[in-house]
């Protein structure tokens, strides 16, 4: 396996982000999710919620469609329409060829155009064109063959190769699992932890009433009323990318560096949208720290096992940043595990800034830090 041979590099992304009263990711009672860590209950946003926000942020960052994937049950239908577009075949013949190309994979069992695969298949838009390449040049000849001859023209290796090279970046990052065709699985190259608050926080409820504008003058009741659970928190968010796995998935080191940088950018800037219109909670992180390591990824959540307390007017963000810096410093010195490279973007001043300087280096603007990361990864 190529990941054993190539040079290993892990990219750790640490984010501190304060959100005002909000309900980013709710449970079945409508309350924001929570978890207990260090013996206190804290706000939590699930990794699934933040990964979806990250995927959606990819297109907002201007990553073109052909670099992204499609998750659909209708691969046969999608392939047939691409074959019809590239050749002069009618729809029925194109559907027949499409079914023949992917039949050896066991994805679809029928030549019927309306049939769907039994599960959502996550593949790249470039990959579908690679499947079209298999038939495009000799489409008319193939369409003239009878079913048996046509089936003999395609092997599972051809379709597999097309689906296993040139992955879109979201498939390469988040992976793909197809239970009954494990040959086309892709090992995910990134990992996102559940975001948890650096401190304990109470779940609160907003009781609201809405007034009926056309209410009769003698009526005193509310038009409607209800409750929304919310809390406010400074979140620690952690994500890691295995650059060597990304290189293996994309079969292109330059594309891997681009994809890693896109992940960092999208992960940092994204935000789950739960109750967005009610709370307008969209904030930007106060701190983004990145480490590149050759040994192993290091999750710094242990900095917050002892919950942060806000004395006087400090708030939670500055003491959280100081605790993060201290944990990075402790791991580098006590365990003899310094990072290969670190970069940081933050908005802190005074002693907090000094501690961050010592742990992660001089702060840069976020675009400059991304450029420096890219330079380090291509070095």
């Amino acid at each position: 396996m190529s990941t054993r041979l190539t040079r290993r590099r892990f990219i750790d992304v640490h984010v501190l982000q304060t959100v005002p009263p909000s309900n980013l990711n709710r449970d079945d009672a409508g309350a924001p999710k929570e978890a207990s860590y260090g013996g206190v209950r804290r706000p939590r946003a699930s990794s699934q919620a933040w990964k979806r926000a990250t995927r959606i942020a990819f297109s907002a960052l201007g990553i073109s469609e052909d670099q992204l994937g499609t998750r659909t049950k209708q691969i046969a239908d999608h392939l047939a329409s691409r074959i019809a577009a590239r050749t002069s075949l009618d729809d029925a013949s194109a559907a027949r060829l499409a079914a023949a190309v992917i039949a050896p994979l066991g994805i679809t069992a029928s030549k019927n155009k309306e049939e769907e695969s039994a599960y959502l298949l996550f593949y790249g838009n470039k990959q579908i064109e690679q499947l079209v390449d298999l038939v495009a040049d000799r489409a008319a000849d193939l369409a003239a063959l009878d079913d048996k001859q046509l089936a003999a023209e395609f092997t599972s290796a051809q379709a597999r190769t097309a689906l296993m090279t040139g992955h879109p970046i979201d498939v390469a990052l988040f992976g793909r699992m197809v239970a009954n065709v494990p040959d086309i699985d892709v090992n995910a190259a990134c990992q996102v932890a559940h975001a948890i608050a650096t401190h304990g926080a109470e779940l609160e409820f907003d009781f609201y009433t809405a007034v009926d504008d056309r209410q009769a003058a003698d009526s005193k009741g509310a038009g409607m009323m209800g409750r929304i659970g919310f809390n406010s928190a400074t979140f620690y968010r952690y994500g890691a990318v295995a650059l060597h796995q990304l290189e293996a998935n994309l079969t292109d080191p330059a594309a891997a560096v681009k994809a890693a940088s896109a992940f960092v950018s999208a992960f940092v800037r994204s935000m789950p949208t739960g109750y967005g219109n009610s709370f307008a909670h969209r904030t930007m992180p106060q701190l983004v720290a990145i480490s590149v390591r050759e040994d192993q990824p290091v999750n710094l959540v242990t900095a917050f096992e002892k919950p942060i307390t806000a004395y006087g007017s400090t708030g939670y963000a500055a003491p959280s940043a100081a605790a993060l810096a201290a944990e990075q410093h402790t791991i580098a010195t006590t365990w003899g595990a310094p990072a290969l490279w670190t970069g940081v973007t933050h908005s802190f001043t005074d002693t907090t800034a000094k501690a961050l300087d010592e742990a992660f280096g001089q702060p840069l603007t976020f675009p400059d830090m991304l450029n420096a990361l890219t330079a380090e990864l291509t070095r």
């Binding site: 013996g39 699930s46 197809v178 791991i331």
Partner: protein, 264 residues
């Protein structure tokens, strides 16, 4: 006779989840402690093994788990939907064996995922000394991203504690309690300010003569075809020093007796 060695791992994080084969469509459970298939899978990932590679020496390792902090169960509500906005599929099949869409249509499938929160485990893995050396190097510099049972549960530092010549049970007994200073404070608060000098923690150890059979010995990690067999284990308690200073014993005859004030 080849010598053996024991690798000690610390499995601790805000969340971990160890699948216990009760995974059905709408619920993902967790075992109360790391499973052998989970730990062997973690080590295989550290070595960079593919799912289709034979387990080889990994299958023959002996494992012991010490429950330093059992943690608590977290139930996570999770929904699944089809991004195209089409109805989800039902359990009913068509004549061709395909699932029918739900009718009346349902668009969101709620699922439950269970995690252990605030838990810390000591895992000892024993095997031939030279293989254990390679395994330790791989655990310190893994080929793949590691996780504690589920991808969203990355381990915290330090993950590898030591590689020792001690046999498994001795190694599990010699290692200090993994509770951090903060976790010790929380433990004390939860136990009504008790400060015993030592506590007993449960351990589950592979043992061919054990009286309990568990079904988590892995034989294959092929997706959709992962297989397990059984293993025998024994349960025992291991006494650990806590570092607490116990309150001096109350001298005899001076017990708190509120009724004495009333002259009874």
């Amino acid at each position: 006779m080849t010598t053996t060695a024991t690798l000690l791992l610390r499995l601790a994080a805000p969340l971990q989840s160890w699948g216990d084969h009760r995974a059905v469509l709408d619920a993902r459970h967790t075992a109360a402690q790391p499973t052998k298939s989970g730990v062997i899978g973690l080590l295989a990932a550290a070595l960079g093994r593919d799912r289709d590679e034979p387990l080889g020496q990994l299958a023959d390792l002996t494992m012991g788990v010490r429950v330093d902090l059992p943690g608590t169960l977290l139930r996570d509500y999770h929904t699944v939907s089809d991004h195209r906005g089409v109805p989800l599929l039902s359990a009913n099949l068509t004549a061709k064996g395909r699932q029918k869409p739900t009718s009346k249509p349902r668009y969101i499938q709620p699922t439950e995922r269970f995690y252990l929160q605030d838990a810390a485990f000591l895992v000892g893995v024993n095997g031939p000394a030279d293989f254990m050396k390679d395994l330790t190097a791989a655990a310190k510099a893994p080929a793949c991203l590691l996780s504690l049972g589920r991808r969203s549960c990355p381990p915290t530092y330090p993950f590898v504690l030591s590689l020792t010549d001690s046999p498994l049970i001795e190694a599990l007994t010699e290692q200090d309690w993994l509770a951090s200073p903060h976790a010790r404070t929380v433990w004390q608060r939860r136990n009504h300010s008790a400060a015993p000098a030592a506590i007993d923690v449960p351990a589950t150890i592979d043992d061919p003569d054990g009286d309990t059979v568990l079904g988590d010995q892995p034989t294959s990690y092929l997706l959709g075809r992962n297989r397990h067999t059984t293993r025998r284990v024994t349960h025992r308690l291991i006494t650990l020093s806590t570092g607490f200073t116990p309150a001096p014993d109350t001298p005899a005859g001076e017990e708190h007796d509120p009724l004495a004030l009333l002259g009874w």
